[in-house]
């Protein structure tokens, strides 16, 4: 294992400390328990937004704390959901009297720990609503399973719900808008190489020199198929097919196209992927009216990419365009 770390046990604490030092204009950090909160929290009268989950997906979620997006992020150990106590502490820290929305990726551990924190917060008189992001079409959804995983689409939920809260919407409305994003967003990813969890010290899975994993999860969970390496365009087609079929997306739809890097893929490759994805959508008469390209929901140093498509309407577009000022996403101020 070759990493820029000191003691693997301190990876999250040290990274959060560095993050706080680098972005002191935007965030404060709490060290005991660990969470990241925007400097001006709690904002009186504004719905507070809290997300979190295992570390290793940076900039998700800490990089999205700030004006117009999250009020707090709660990082667990690498790839391990946080316990309820820091979630509860962050929830209290951002409660400005208008209630708090929890944005949770659909993993049993995350769901249960956020649920417990929400119960405890309710017991303290804080109104909490939760939404569960489950955009990964690689996993079949079903009423009788844990359902689809939450992946890169989470960024879009956080941005758009954050803008809704920032403009003063009530908790009910912010939650409804988050749900609208969730119902219209779908993703799928591919891994070229595995990632290495610092305290594990070895790859979370193995891939032969000529193999890739289609439908990878953001913790290196197995996907749909392990196939031989193909040209970028063919890989894009494999990812985009199931995404477009799922809702489905159809001609005339206006969408946001998001090409996400898994952490270790050069940007030049992400734009090659974007080029083909935009081409396919154009061929199908789907209009790409907003775009996002970069490393936003990563799996440590994994090489690979995921494609996310979100169905837009005028309100979602306006909320996407609204000013945001976080470490990892910023425009309009």
């Amino acid at each position: 294992m070759k990493k820029l770390v000191n003691d693997p046990k301190n990876v999250v604490a040290e990274a959060v400390a560095g993050f706080g030092a680098a972005h002191a204009d935007i965030v404060r950090i709490s060290t005991e328990p660990i969470y990241i909160v925007r400097t001006e929290a709690p904002v009186a009268g504004k719905v507070g937004l809290v997300s979190g989950g295992g570390s290793g997906h940076e900039p998700l979620h800490g990089g999205f704390v700030g004006f117009g997006m999250l009020d707090a992020a709660v990082p667990g150990a690498v790839f391990t959901s946080p316990t309820p106590d820091p979630i509860l502490a962050a929830t209290k820290a951002v409660d400005g009297g208008a209630g708090v929305l929890h944005i949770v990726k659909n993993y049993t551990g995350d769901v249960l720990n956020f649920e417990t924190a929400a119960d405890l917060a309710a017991a303290d008189g804080i109104e909490v609503r939760s939404v569960i992001v489950n955009d990964d079409v690689a996993v079949k959804d079903s009423l009788y399973t844990a359902g689809r995983r939450g992946v890169a689409g989470t960024v879009l939920v956080e941005k758009i719900a954050g803008a809704s809260a920032e403009r003063g919407d009530a908790l009910e409305t912010v939650a409804a808008i988050a749900e609208r994003v969730i119902s219209g967003v779908r993703s799928m990813g591919v891994a070229l190489t595995p990632c290495v969890v610092p305290h594990a010290g070895e790859g979370s899975f193995t891939l032969a020199d000529d193999e890739i994993e289609i439908g990878i999860g953001i913790h290196g969970e197995p996907g749909r198929a392990r196939i031989k390496l193909e040209p970028a365009d063919a890989i894009v087609d494999r990812l985009l097919g199931p995404i477009l079929e799922d809702i489905p997306f159809v001609a005339g739809d206006e969408v946001l196209l998001f090409v996400n890097g898994m952490g270790g893929t050069p940007q030049i490759e992400l734009y090659i992927v974007f080029r083909r994805a935009a081409e396919v959508l154009a061929e199908q008469g789907i209009e790409v009216s907003r775009t996002l390209v970069g490393n936003f929901t990563t799996s440590l140093e994994m090489q690979g990419t995921s494609i996310t498509v979100l169905k837009l309407d005028d309100e979602l577009t306006a909320l996407w365009d609204a000013p945001v000022q976080t470490a990892a996403l910023r425009w309009g101020r």
Partner: protein, 214 residues
């Protein structure tokens, strides 16, 4: 030797024995989790139970509800993942059901365990056959209750629960996981024992052993 009640000391002994068993079996639990999960169930359970025993030693309690609410909170705040809230709620509900007593009689213990199971279901929404700890807990409590009706002996009921637990654990192997991380594997989860089912079976082993000791 028969028993009508279980004391605060025995309940503490149960938790201590459970800690020892998950520590002995840590690699086995992690191995099971690496096959169909993320290879942390052994370290999750030992981290949690070490914290529990640390807390018990640091601040002794005088009532059963105090004991188990402390255990539950400690698990909830030290484990994370899926098993933290599930085991945590299990013990929290046991505490709430037991109340501020220093001894539980057999029906009281049965009711408390049943309340714990209710908490696991409330949190995890697992049903029979989903390939989770539920598939050990539910048959073990059914066996406990049934044995109690016939023999009115808490030790005998615990032994019955433990053998049902082992059977339940082994019966998870052929199942397709429908809850938790293993469910992403679909059919590929077949053929492996569920790690949470295995640790729950150790919980009943611990209970049976501690009651047989006196």
């Amino acid at each position: 030797m028969t028993n009508d009640t279980i004391s605060l000391d025995q309940l503490t002994g149960w938790l201590t024995r459970f800690r020892d068993l998950v520590t002995e079996q840590v690699s086995y639990l992690t191995e099971l989790d690496s096959a169909i999960g993320d290879a942390d169930h052994g370290s999750n359970m030992t981290r949690g139970m070490d914290a529990v025993l640390g807390k018990i030693q640091a601040s002794p309690v005088v009532a059963v509800d105090e004991l188990f609410k402390g255990v539950g909170m400690t698990l909830v705040t030290s484990v994370g993942g899926a098993s933290g809230p599930l085991y945590g709620t299990f013990f929290l509900r046991i505490g709430t059901s037991a109340g501020p007593v220093s001894t539980l009689d057999a029906p009281g213990l049965a009711a408390a365990l049943r309340a714990g199971l209710g908490g696991v279901v409330a949190r995890g929404k697992a049903e029979a056959g989903d390939k989770t700890m539920f598939d050990v807990l539910a048959p073990a409590l059914d066996a406990f209750d049934a044995d109690l009706v016939v023999f009115s002996d808490i030790s005998s009921a615990a032994r019955a629960a433990y053998s049902a637990a082992q059977a339940g654990r082994d019966a998870t192997a052929p199942l397709i996981a429908r809850k938790g991380r293993a469910s992403y594997l679909g059919e590929r989860s077949i053929g492996h024992i569920d790690p949470g089912a295995a640790s729950t079976s150790l919980l009943f082993q611990a209970l049976a052993e501690i009651l047989d000791k006196e």
